[in-house]
């Protein structure tokens, strides 16, 4: 119903969006943290989230944050160097096989993610990052 106050509807829509987002994150922390590994339900949930994110990322007409026309040097090269260094370090550990002196990120995180609380936080972080990417 129109109230005659311009700006009220976007304000309410924004509040609804924040409320919905908060509800999803609370559900992700509480529920996602308790989803077991290697289970059909977990595969389905992660798969559906991925499909939704991919569709939202490619859907034409959705509002996006403005992308920079060009990236200033040497800033982006430093980002590339850091991601590459992390990746090389990980692959090196992976190639070492089961050597306990060279753990992969998975070796380090898997015991942590056995805890439902930490697993729930990882769910929240994953969804927040995904939302940030989809909006780009």
């Amino acid at each position: 119903m129109e109230t005659g106050e311009p700006g009220l509807r976007p304000h309410r829509r924004r509040a609804l969006g924040w409320g919905l987002g908060a509800a999803v994150l609370v559900a992700a922390w509480a529920g996602g943290g308790r989803l077991p590994s290697f289970a059909g339900l977990t595969y389905a949930v992660v798969g559906v989230v991925g499909v939704l994110a991919l569709v939202a990322a490619l859907w034409p007409g959705l509002p996006r944050l403005e992308a920079p026309r060009r990236l200033s040097a040497p800033g982006w090269q430093v980002w590339v160097a850091l991601f590459t260094a992390f990746g090389v370090w990980e692959v090196w550990a992976l190639l070492a096989g089961d050597d306990p002196a060279q753990p992969t990120v998975s070796d380090l995180l898997d015991p942590v993610l056995l805890s439902p609380d930490w697993r729930g936080l990882f769910w929240v972080a994953w969804l927040v990052v995904g939302w940030g990417l989809v909006r780009r």
Partner: protein, 65 residues
């Protein structure tokens, strides 16, 4: 190679990324944020799919398996 050195490598890389992100967000900084870099890659549809699939794989790897 020891466990400590390997873990230090991961921590150092992540810490450097955090520092770079903070530097990028300082007023007047010309350094792009990580989000700017991803947004730049995502200007192309192929980059868009690649970034989203990479993000999704992290969730699959750590949460589903």
């Amino acid at each position: 190679m020891t466990w400590e050195i390997t873990v230090f490598g991961y921590v150092a890389a992540v810490a450097a990324m955090l520092v770079l992100e903070v530097v990028a967000r300082l007023p007047g900084s010309t350094t792009p944020t990580a989000g700017d870099c991803f947004a730049w890659v995502m200007r192309h549809p192929a980059g868009r799919v690649l970034v989203i699939l990479s993000w999704w794989w992290v969730g699959w790897h750590f949460l589903a398996r």
